[in-house]
C-alpha cells in the first residue's frame, strides 16, 4: 500500500515505489514530491494500477454558488481557451477589460475550493465584494490581519507565500491576479507549494524586463489568450487622451539641481565610469557600499532627482489643472510619499499611502466612488487593480521609468462608462533626467517586444 500525505508544502509518499516526480528524502526515509505535482502523481499511480491512500487534500466545505456573471465575447473566448488548455493558463487582458469576471465565471463553473491571490489588501476587499455580488457567497480572507479559510478565499501574495505550509493543500483552483508578480524568486514558491491542479493567471502586463516571465508557464500554464488595449479602446474601454506637460524648475531648485548633478558627474568622470544600461547603474550602486565617495555621489544624484520629481513648479501647474477641470474625478500619482503629503496638505486632497490606516483607506475609496470626494493623491499603492469606474482624469506627477507602472496607472481611468472621455496627463520637469524617465516609460524596450 502507498500512502500520500501533505507535509508543509510538499507531499510525502510512503511505500515501496518511486514516481517520476518524487525524490528520496533520507531525512525522513520516504519519497518527497513538490505539491504542484499532486495531480500528476495521482494520475501516475492510477495508470500504474497501484493501490494507494490519498490523505493529501484538506479542503474547506463546499458552499452553494449562484453565478450571475455575463461575459463579453472576448471574455468568453478567453475562458474557452483556458478550458481547452486543461484549465491551466494565463490570460493577458488590458486593465479595465474585466479580467475579474472571467475568473468569477470559471469559479462558478468549476464549483471547487478556490484561492484567489492578489498583490494588495485593497484588492482583497474588492475581490470579496465581487464574489459576494456575483457568486452569492462570502469569501474568506488571508492577509491584513484576517485569517479565515472558506471555499473561496482571497489572499495576498505575501500571505500565500508565508503560509504555504498550512494552506497548500486546501484548494483545487488558484487564481493569480496580476500574475507577473508570481515570477519573483520567493513568490514562485507559492505555485510550487500548493497542490491545486487548476490554475489561472491574469495580467495586463505579462512581460517582465528581467525576463522572468518565461518561468510562468511551468507554474501556471502558457499564455492562452492575449488582447491589446487598441483592440478594445472605444468599444470596451473608454477612449482617452494623453498629454505631457513640461514645467521649469524654480530658480532656486535649478541651482540646487545643477550643483548636485555636477557633484555626481564629476565623480563619474574622475573614475571613468560610464552609465549606459540599468546593469551599469546596478554595478555602480554595488560599489557605494564600500566606497564612501561613490555613496556621496549617489546621494547627490538622488537629491537632484528628487528636486526634479518633486518640483514646486509642478504643484503650480497642478493647481491650474484642478481649477480648470473641477468636475473630473481625479487621481494624482507620485513616486514618493513626501510629495503625496505635500499635495494632500496643500490642496486638502485625501491621500492614500502604505501608512494610511486601513479603515481610513476604505472610507476614502468609498467616498471617492460615491462622489463625496473628487480627488485622491497616492504614491504607488493604487497602481494596481483598484477600480474606480468613473475616475476620468489621471495626473502623473512623478514615477519610475517603468512601462508597467505607466500602463497600470493608465488602466485606473480606462474603465468603460457611457460618455466618459478619459485624460491622462504627465507633468515633467524640463531639462532634467526626468525627461528621459518619462520617455522610457511610454516606449517598450526592444527587448520586451
Amino acid at each position: 500500500m502507498i500512502y500520500l500525505r501533505f507535509d508543509k508544502g510538499t507531499i510525502l509518499l510512503r511505500g515501496e515505489v518511486g514516481t517520476p516526480y518524487g525524490k528520496w528524502d533520507p531525512r525522513v526515509d520516504c519519497y518527497r514530491i513538490k505539491a504542484m505535482h499532486y495531480s500528476e502523481v495521482l494520475d501516475y499511480l492510477k495508470e500504474s494500477k497501484l493501490a494507494f491512500q490519498d490523505d493529501v487534500p484538506n479542503l474547506p466545505p463546499v458552499q452553494q454558488l449562484n453565478s450571475n456573471v455575463e461575459l463579453r465575447p472576448y471574455q468568453n473566448e478567453a475562458l474557452d481557451r483556458w478550458h481547452q488548455a486543461n484549465m491551466r493558463g494565463i490570460l493577458v487582458l488590458p486593465t479595465a477589460a474585466g479580467k475579474t469576471y472571467v475568473a468569477l465565471k470559471a469559479i462558478g463553473q468549476l464549483k471547487t475550493q478556490t484561492l484567489i491571490i492578489v498583490p494588495t489588501l485593497d484588492l482583497i476587499d474588492q475581490w470579496r465584494k465581487r464574489v459576494a455580488d456575483h457568486l452569492k457567497t462570502d469569501a474568506g480572507a488571508v492577509g491584513g490581519g484576517e485569517n479565515t479559510v472558506k471555499m473561496i478565499t482571497v489572499s495576498t501574495y505575501d500571505s500565500a507565500y508565508l503560509q504555504a505550509e498550512t494552506l497548500g493543500n486546501r484548494f483545487m483552483l488558484m487564481i493569480f491576479d496580476e500574475v507577473h508578480h508570481l515570477a519573483s524568486p520567493s513568490y514562485m514558491q507559492i505555485a510550487e507549494m500548493y497542490i491545486a491542479p487548476y490554475r489561472m493567471g491574469l495580467t495586463a502586463t505579462y512581460e517582465r524586463s528581467d525576463e522572468r516571465h518565461s518561468l510562468l508557464p511551468r507554474l501556471v500554464g502558457d499564455p492562452v489568450y492575449t488582447v491589446d488595449v487598441e483592440e478594445l479602446a472605444g468599444e470596451h474601454l473608454s477612449p482617452y487622451t494623453y498629454e505631457k506637460m513640461f514645467v521649469d524648475l524654480t530658480p532656486k531648485e535649478q541651482r540646487a539641481y545643477d550643483d548636485e548633478m555636477a557633484t555626481f558627474r564629476l565623480y563619474l568622470k574622475e573614475k571613468g565610469i560610464v552609465l549606459r544600461s540599468p546593469e551599469d547603474f546596478h554595478r555602480f550602486i554595488m560599489t557605494t557600499g564600500r566606497d564612501r565617495r561613490a555613496r556621496e555621489a549617489l546621494l547627490a544624484r538622488n537629491r537632484a532627482l528628487k528636486i526634479a520629481l518633486n518640483s514646486d513648479a509642478k504643484l503650480g501647474l497642478l493647481a491650474q489643472q484642478l481649477d480648470a477641470n473641477e468636475k473630473e474625478k481625479t487621481l494624482i500619482f507620485t513616486l514618493h510619499n513626501d510629495l503625496v503629503y505635500t499635495i494632500s496638505r496643500r490642496f486638502l486632497i485625501p491621500a492614500i499611502t502604505y501608512q494610511t490606516p486601513k479603515e481610513e483607506r476604505r472610507e476614502i475609496l468609498e467616498n471617492f466612488r460615491n462622489g463625496q470626494y473628487k480627488a485622491i493623491v497616492t504614491s504607488q499603492v493604487l497602481d494596481e487593480g483598484v477600480d474606480v469606474p468613473d475616475a476620468s482624469a489621471g495626473y502623473i506627477l512623478s514615477g519610475t521609468g517603468s512601462t508597467r507602472e505607466y500602463i497600470q496607472r493608465l488602466g485606473r481611468i480606462l474603465r468603460k462608462v457611457e460618455g466618459k472621455r478619459a485624460k491622462l496627463v504627465e507633468i515633467v520637469s524640463r531639462e532634467t533626467v526626468e525627461v528621459e524617465m518619462s520617455r522610457r516609460r511610454r516606449y517598450k524596450k526592444p527587448a520586451e517586444d
Binding site: 508543509k8 531525512r27 518527497r32 486632497i349 470626494y373
Partner: protein, 517 residues
C-alpha cells in the same frame, strides 16, 4: 534582526561573515551618542530625532552601522501620537468640507477651509495644521525610551547582524553543549527539519521540507530565529551555507563560541527549569534517596534512526544508563510513535504515564509495546522506578558478564582494577568482577577489587618474608602497607591468598599480626 539593506559583511574566498562591531572606542562612542540622542529627544518628534541620527552618518561613520543601531533603539522606544485631537476625524471633516468649498487650489481658499474647520472644533487654525497629519510615522512623539548600556547595544547589534545574514541561509549545521529539548522544540515549532550525525560530537543539520528540491532561502528566517536558542549554551559551533543575494554564490559562514560568544548578545543560559511540577518533584525525591544512580536533566539526545529521542532524565550507575520520560497529556498514537522510535535504538527507557490523562485504554498498548510503562497520578511513585532500575542494572550486568566471559582479553599489567577496567570498556564493575572471578585469566589471581598477576604476588610475598621477625610474624598494619605500596588495593584478601594467617588480638587492628601458616 535588521532590514537586509543594513547588513554589512566581509566576504573572502568563499567565506562570509558579518562586520561585527567590536567594543572599540569609536564604536562605543557612536553607540553612546545615539543612546544619548534618544534620551534627549523624549517628548519630541521622530523626524527631529532621525535628522539628528543622520548627522552621525555625515560625521563619517558607516551609515549602515549607525542606522542598524538606531533601528534597535527604535525597538526600545515608544512612539505615540498626541491624542488630544484625532487626526483621522480631523481629515474627514476637512475633506468633506472641500465638497462644498472646492479643493484648496489657492492659498486663500485653503485658509478659508482650515478656518471653517477650526471654528467648528473650537480650536485655532494653527492647531488644525499641527494635527492634520500628526499620526504619520515621522510625526509621532518619542514618549518613552529604555536606554541600554552601550556595550550591550553593540552585542545586540552583532546578534541582529548574524540573524540578518542567516535570512539568506540554505542550511545550518550546529553542535552545542546542551539545551537540547528547547532546541529541538524550536526546530519543530519553526517548521524545520533536522538530520543528526554523531561523530564524537553530536551534529545537527537544519533545513526545511522543500530544501530537498532546490537551494532555497525559504527557511532562512526560521533558521535565524533558531540561533538564539543554540547560542544560549556555553559551547557551540554553528556553520551555515549562505546563498548571497547580490551575487548568488554560496558562501560559508562559521560561528564559534570560543571566538564569538563574548561579542554576541546571549539570552541567559536558562536555568534548568522543569516542564512540570511532576518532573521537579521526581528529580528532588530521587536525588534525596542517594541510590548511587546519578540523575541528569536533559541529557544529550539519543539518535534513533534519522530522528532523535530527547528524554527528560538519564539515570546512570557504573556504566548502566536508564532514560526516564514523563508523559503528561498523551494519546495512543503518541505512545505508538514513541515505540516506533524506541525500536530503532537499543536503550533502556522508562515511560511514566499520567493515568488521569489517559485518553484511551492502555491494554492494547501494553501488549504492543516492549515499552516499560509505569503509571502515576499526582506524583511518580519511586518504588516501581527503583525496581525497574534494579532489574535493568541486573539485566545489563548479566548481559555484560556474558559478553565479558566470551571476550578474550589479554592483560599485561601486574594489577587490573575492576572499576577502572569497567569504565574503560563501558560496562559495570559488578559485571567485570563477576566474569573475572569466575574465570580468571591465565597467570592472574582474582581478588575482591582487582586481578593481580602471579609474579606480582610473589614479589609481595618476598617483601613480606624479608620483614618477618624471627618468629615468622609481622604487624598487620605493616603487611598492609607493603601490599598497598605494590599497587594492590585489597590487602587482606591478598595476604590470605598468599597463605598468611591473620591473628587477631581482640578487635584492635593495631595489635593484629600476620603469621606464616
Amino acid at each position: 534582526m535588521l532590514p537586509s539593506e543594513l547588513l554589512t559583511v566581509w566576504k573572502r574566498k568563499g567565506n562570509i561573515s558579518p562586520r561585527y562591531a567590536r567594543a572599540t572606542e569609536d564604536s562605543l562612542q557612536v553607540a553612546n551618542s545615539l543612546i544619548k540622542a534618544y534620551k534627549d529627544h523624549v517628548g519630541q518628534k521622530k523626524s527631529v530625532l532621525k535628522a539628528f541620527a543622520s548627522e552621525l552618518e555625515d560625521e563619517g561613520y558607516e551609515y549602515r552601522f549607525v542606522r542598524g543601531l538606531a533601528c534597535l533603539l527604535d525597538r526600545k522606544s515608544t512612539f505615540k501620537c498626541n491624542d488630544r485631537i484625532d487626526p483621522v476625524e480631523l481629515r474627514r471633516r476637512i475633506f468633506r468640507a472641500t465638497r462644498e468649498l472646492g479643493l484648496a487650489t489657492t492659498p486663500e481658499k485653503r485658509k478659508r477651509i482650515i478656518a471653517a474647520i477650526a471654528q467648528d472644533l473650537k480650536i485655532t487654525s494653527d492647531t488644525v495644521e499641527e494635527f492634520l497629519y500628526a499620526d504619520l510615522d515621522s510625526e509621532l512623539i518619542l514618549e518613552e525610551f529604555e536606554p541600554p548600556a552601550p556595550e550591550e547595544l553593540l552585542k545586540e547589534y552583532n546578534l541582529s547582524l548574524t540573524q540578518t545574514l542567516l535570512f539568506d541561509s540554505t542550511e545550518l549545521n550546529f553542535t552545542a553543549s546542551g539545551n537540547w529539548q528547547r532546541i529541538f522544540y524550536a526546530v519543530k515549532r519553526l517548521g524545520l527539519i533536522y538530520d543528526v550525525q554523531k561523530d564524537g560530537r553530536f551534529w545537527v543539520k537544519i533545513d526545511g521540507p522543500a530544501s530537498l528540491f532546490k537551494l532555497t532561502r525559504r527557511y532562512g528566517t526560521a533558521t535565524a530565529k533558531l540561533l538564539p536558542t543554540i547560542i544560549a549554551n556555553q559551547e557551540w559551533t554553528v556553520e551555515a551555507k549562505i546563498l548571497w543575494r547580490y551575487t548568488n554564490e554560496i558562501c560559508n559562514f562559521k560561528l564559534e563560541s570560543w571566538k564569538h560568544r563574548s561579542m554576541l548578545k546571549s539570552l541567559q543560559e536558562p536555568k534548568i527549569s522543569y516542564d512540570s511540577a511532576v518532573e521537579q518533584d521526581f528529580a528532588e525525591q530521587f536525588q534525596s534517596l542517594k541510590t548511587g544512580w546519578q540523575l541528569k536533566r536533559e541529557p544529550e539526545p539519543v539518535p534513533a534512526g534519522k530522528q532523535v529521542i530527547i528524554p527528560d532524565f538519564s539515570l546512570e550507575k557504573q556504566g548502566v544508563r536508564v532514560y526516564v520520560e514523563i508523559v503528561g497529556f498523551w494519546t495512543a498514537e503518541y505512545l505508538l510513535r514513541k515505540i516506533e522510535k524506541l525500536k530503532k535504538v537499543d536503550v533502556n527507557m522508562l515511560v511514566a504515564v499520567n493515568e488521569n490523562l489517559a485518553c484511551e485504554k492502555l491494554d492494547r498498548l501494553e501488549k504492543e509495546a516492549q515499552l516499560n510503562i509505569i503509571y502515576y497520578h499526582d506524583k511518580i511513585p519511586l518504588a516501581p522506578v527503583l525496581r525497574y532500575l534494579e532489574g535493568a542494572f541486573q539485566n545489563v550486568q548479566a548481559s555484560q558478564t556474558e559478553l565479558l566471559k566470551n571476550l578474550r582479553v589479554i592483560f599485561t599489567e601486574p594489577v587490573v582494577d575492576y572499576g577502572e577496567f569497567a569504565a574503560r570498556i563501558g560496562v559495570s564493575t559488578e559485571a567485570v568482577k563477576e566474569a573475572l572471578t569466575e574465570k580468571p585469566p591465565e597467570g592472574y589471581t582474582a581478588m575482591s577489587e582487582s586481578l593481580v598477576r602471579r609474579d606480582k604476588l610473589e614479589q609481595i610475598r618476598n617483601k613480606i618474608e624479608e620483614q618477618l621477625n624471627p618468629t615468622g610474624r609481622l604487624p598487620l598494619s605493616e603487611a598492609i602497607r607493603i601490599v598497598e605500596s605494590e599497587g594492590v588495593a585489597d590487602a587482606t584478601k591478598s595476604l590470605e591468598t598468599l597463605g598468611y594467617r591473620i591473628n587477631w588480638h581482640g578487635i584492635n587492628a593495631e595489635k593484629a599480626e600476620v603469621a606464616k601458616p
